[in-house]
Symmetry: D2
Subunit: 142 residues, 4 copies
């Protein structure tokens, strides 16, 4: 059963043009707790200004959204749409891969809430986010 | 002077690997009000699931962040880092270009707040966002 | 029918110890659009620092939450719980009554999103908020 | 020195009509980490619906705002205005006192970010919040 969840998580990470281009990797997950750790390696396509190796906020927001979604997938076994997303950019991320750690705070009948921290290779927090997801409906969005 | 603002806005939209890949276009701006309208054309790279032509939430969040930033650039004449970003996904965006309209709610000494609406070609709201930006510091981020 | 909605809105505003103490008044509503305007008069109990007549952010956040809820009540005819709330404080509110204008952006099967602006008697924006509400469940909360 | 911080924290909690009426108590603080724990006892004035002993979301949002502010006061030694506040209501709080734990995620030159968790007497999370505060200016707000 745990293996099926892992397969589902890896499939979501590798499916669809946007996810394929991001190139995220599942580091670990906990199906009971509803948590995941996702690695996003540095790519020049994420660069804010030519030659700075500084991450643009866009891919960081996308990473937070996706990691939050996967935390609920780990718990519930299916993908669910994002209702809203809140991101705080804490410090610049420069010349580093990023790891997002997402943990479910609540998974109710209609809504799930997930907390996400994004850290650089030195384990310093780069950004924090909170996503609200619709646990009710399989209708696609976000 | 207005021409300089337009040049600045277009330069920001066309500068850096992430912006280049997004391919956003300036539709209109109002320097006095601190507002901009940005067009983001559909690309397969934005697709959520293969063949659905549905936008992933990631590029929509990035568009909101960037449009909000540019609204303050229109007003202040310089780029500024994002502090935090809140996005509500209102309805799926399918097989459509998107237009983000961003208007400054406040531009204080240290903080600016911008409201952003993203609409599809039928003018229906797809997502709404609110960004807080640091008007104080030229240190790069977000 | 419209009369029933008005009765429901006024009843919610006047019901329960917290609402009674706030003393909010319905200024106008639009059941079709899902929008309301709520007046909250200045009280010393809302004062941040003795003698300044400056509003504390707490009652402003509560006003935004309640106005957003009532916008959906105007549309749907029943009270619904808050999922999450985002408030931006735009400028200090001093020695003034406040009016909150709330308009529904979306009322889906499980989730509603409402935009709220709070203005002082000079019609200047004091705070803006966005609330997400659970349109599905009658279970009480927030 | 630590004693001065404690005095400052207790003074802020007890100062001004809004704080006096809330009746919050400092449980503990860590000046180096920029964290505080604040107790808010149940009052009938916080009740959502007569006789239910369920907390209204309003005082919970106010508690989150104030606890977040105090976490930065613990670190910086002075009160600072709220820029924006995000609250997720996780589960109803019924017939219980509440404890808010706030920890500073970042305290920069112009902006501070604080994470807040609100728990009931059974240590279950009732709400989570994130506040952004202006560390620059002594101008009063929020």
């Amino acid at each position: 059963m745990a293996r099926d969840i892992e397969t589902t998580l890896r499939e979501i990470l590798g499916t669809g043009p946007f996810h394929e281009q991001m190139g995220m990797e599942l580091v670990r997950y906990d199906a009971e707790a509803g948590s995941v750790e996702i690695l996003l390696r540095w790519q020049r396509a994420f660069e804010r200004e030519e030659g700075t190796k500084q991450w643009h906020g866009g891919p960081i927001a996308a990473l937070i959204d996706i990691a939050g979604d996967l935390a609920l997938v780990a718990l519930l076994g299916r993908g669910i749409p994002t209702i809203d997303l809140h991101v705080n950019y804490v410090r610049p991320a420069i010349d580093t891969d990023l790891v997002a750690t997402a943990r479910t705070l609540r998974a109710g009948r209609s809504v799930g809430v997930v907390d996400v921290e994004v850290r650089d290779v030195g384990r310093r927090i780069v950004a924090v986010g909170r996503g609200t997801y619709s646990t009710l409906a399989p209708e696609p969005r976000g």
